[in-house]
């Protein structure tokens, strides 16, 4: 079974110069796990995960105890959001992400997800153009519906 048959094609695509605020809104509203940065031809340049955005607003040095000492964490988040407002998608993205091809198999996609400890992978064609996203949930949905034949899995 090829990835093309189970991937999600309703993607959140942004240009490299997209600003932080718009990017945050688009990412929050998207159906896919990640937001993808593409050039004017649709070629994949980088990927932005929720953690990439969250990390700019919630400091990584905070552990649960230290976080409990903050009277108002929302204020800290707002401040850091403002500090990062000038960043663009190109600044925030992880460049050269691991990607799979539409003709790759379910097993290959799963191994790549496992190896990279990723929740989803971009799918690109032979020209590097982004065509979809494959997540663990997409794979599980396919296994449940088409391999195990479970009712309601679709």
């Amino acid at each position: 079974m090829h990835i093309a048959q189970m991937m999600n094609t309703s993607l959140s695509r942004v240009a490299p110069d997209q600003n932080f605020c718009t990017l945050l809104t688009e990412h929050a509203d998207a159906d896919t796990r990640h937001t993808y940065v593409v050039d004017e031809h649709g070629r994949l340049l980088g990927v932005i995960t929720s953690q990439d955005l969250m990390g700019r607003m919630v400091p990584s040095y905070l552990d649960p105890q230290l976080a409990s000492s903050l009277a108002d964490g929302a204020e800290l988040i707002l401040r850091r959001f403002r500090d990062n407002a000038r960043l663009s998608a190109a600044d925030l993205m992880q460049p050269k992400p691991v990607a799979v091809h539409p003709e790759d198999t379910l097993i290959e996609a799963n191994v790549r997800l496992h190896e990279g400890r990723l929740s989803a992978l971009p799918v690109v064609d032979a020209h590097g153009i982004l065509v979809g996203e494959i997540s663990r949930r997409d794979i599980l949905r396919h296994i449940a519906r088409d391999i195990c034949g479970l009712p309601g899995a679709a």
């Binding site: 400091p59 040095y61 230290l66 903050l70």
Partner: protein, 442 residues
């Protein structure tokens, strides 16, 4: 090829690899140790059981035991609790907080490992800087400088002191009586200079100070019962360090007893506390001891000590030139190379030198009243010299990495802008102290 040249070759090759940082220093040290044994410069019996040539297990056991104690203590939440209380004590004023954090770091690192101290305080420092909307870099660098200065004060504060104490048979009290006073003077002088540099530059609005006062410490102590147990056992261990000379115990015995007691009362799986031990550092020491043992047996150290002897001309009645030169030589060397391999090399060299000057390498020569200032000079130079550059001490490297991860990179030269003047100041005070205390008013 003679053993002398084989040992010299292994020594130079290993040290070049350590300094280049192209391969991990532990790998370089262990490879050097393996070559020393494979070429039979040292027998395995010598490497593992010979007190003069082999691994100094006193140092190794002391390091491991202290790491276990810190690992268990850090789980109580006491470090962020103390740091946030300290920030509140400074009433949100940035320079007051910087000074209090420097004093806390110096005190903590006198009793604990410098790297651990800096790592435990860094998250709170970053949070305080975020809340005050100021650059955390001067705070982080101040803390690492304070850690290296404070660590110099005691036998257990910095690995070079552990090594010097073990080699020369010096006690915890010896360090407290001879080194701690000059560290107090250095801290006062340094913070005075810091007040001139930062006092006026670090100012924030009143509403930002109020954010610090609003920080909540109630939930920071995660395990109050364990904290009590840790406090009691750490107190008893410190008392053990103070009394180890009178009781006839080695410092490692005291530390092992403390670590074992904490492991017993913490109720934790020992695998957890042991997993957190910095094994690469421990094996770095083991490798170094074997390489240096090889150079001692092959005669390299003896010929180097002869050179030092002819350059500084110490006598049983006067070691002044040697001591005062050593402060700066050790300081300069430790600014560019790790002070642990430096002291590992200097220790046997000074033992050989003591043998030539005082006619023996026993405790009566190593602890001779004219030999003691030489050890203190080595300790002060090696520990304080590490402050000069971003690679001078392990804590510096850790803080630079940590700042980069927090999005506040510290360049090599920015670190030097703080580190070099502080190193010159502290080595200058150390030189004056050694001269006045041991040679001017002996």
């Amino acid at each position: 090829m003679s053993m002398f040249w084989i040992a010299t070759g292994i020594f130079l090759l290993s040290y070049a690899a350590i300094v280049s940082e192209r391969i991990h220093k532990t790998k370089a040290a262990l490879a050097g140790a393996a070559l020393t044994l494979l070429f039979k410069v040292l027998t395995q019996e010598d490497a593992l059981h010979n007190v003069d040539l082999g691994v100094d297990w006193n140092v190794v056991l002391l390091l491991i035991s202290m790491m276990i104690m810190v690992n268990i203590m850090s789980r109580t939440g006491v470090f962020p609790y103390v740091a946030i209380q300290a920030a509140k004590l400074g009433r949100g004023d940035p320079f007051a907080i910087m000074s209090i954090f420097a004093v806390i770091t110096a005190l903590a690192s006198a009793l604990l490992d410098n790297v651990t101290t800096v790592l435990l305080l860094a998250p709170v420092t970053l949070l305080v800087a975020d809340e005050l909307e100021i650059d955390p870099v001067p705070f982080l660098i101040t803390e690492v400088l304070a850690a290296n200065i404070g660590g110099t004060a005691t036998l257990i504060g910095d690995p070079p002191n552990i090594m010097i104490a073990s080699k020369a048979g010096l006690s915890f009290m010896d360090f407290l009586v001879h080194i701690a006073p000059v560290i107090v003077i250095i801290m006062i002088a340094w913070l005075g200079v810091w007040k001139l540099v930062f006092g006026r530059r670090l100012t924030v609005r009143a509403d930002l100070k109020a954010r610090i006062m609003a920080l909540n410490v109630a939930e920071l102590i995660t395990d109050p019962v364990l904290l009590w147990k840790c406090g009691l056992i750490l107190g008893a261990t410190l008392l053990g360090f103070v009394l180890h000379g009178f009781l006839g115990y080695q410092p490692a015995t005291v530390a092992l007893a403390g670590a074992a007691a904490l492991l017993l009362v913490s109720g934790d799986d020992p695998a957890h506390a042991l997993r957190e031990v910095e094994w690469p550092t421990v094996f770095f020491f083991i490798g170094l001891f074997i390489i240096i043992g090889g150079t001692v047996k092959a005669g390299l150290i003896s010929s180097l000590s002869q050179q030092v002897l002819s350059l500084t001309a110490p006598t049983a009645d006067n070691t002044q030139v040697l001591s005062l030169t050593l402060v700066w030589f050790a300081g300069a060397a430790s600014a560019v190379v790790d002070n642990i391999p430096f002291v590992a090399t200097m220790n046997p060299m000074l033992v050989e030198l003591a043998g030539k000057v005082f006619g023996s390498t026993g405790p009566e020569a190593l602890q001779h009243h004219n030999m003691l200032p030489v050890w203190w000079a080595l300790s002060l130079g090696a520990c304080l010299g590490g402050n000069a550059t971003a690679i001078g001490a392990s804590a510096n490297v850790i803080v630079v990495g940590l700042a980069a991860r927090a999005g506040k990179p510290i360049s090599f030269f920015r670190f030097m802008k703080y580190g070099v003047p502080v190193t010159l100041l502290t080595l200058g005070i150390s030189t004056g102290y050694i001269y006045l205390r041991y040679y001017f008013w002996p």
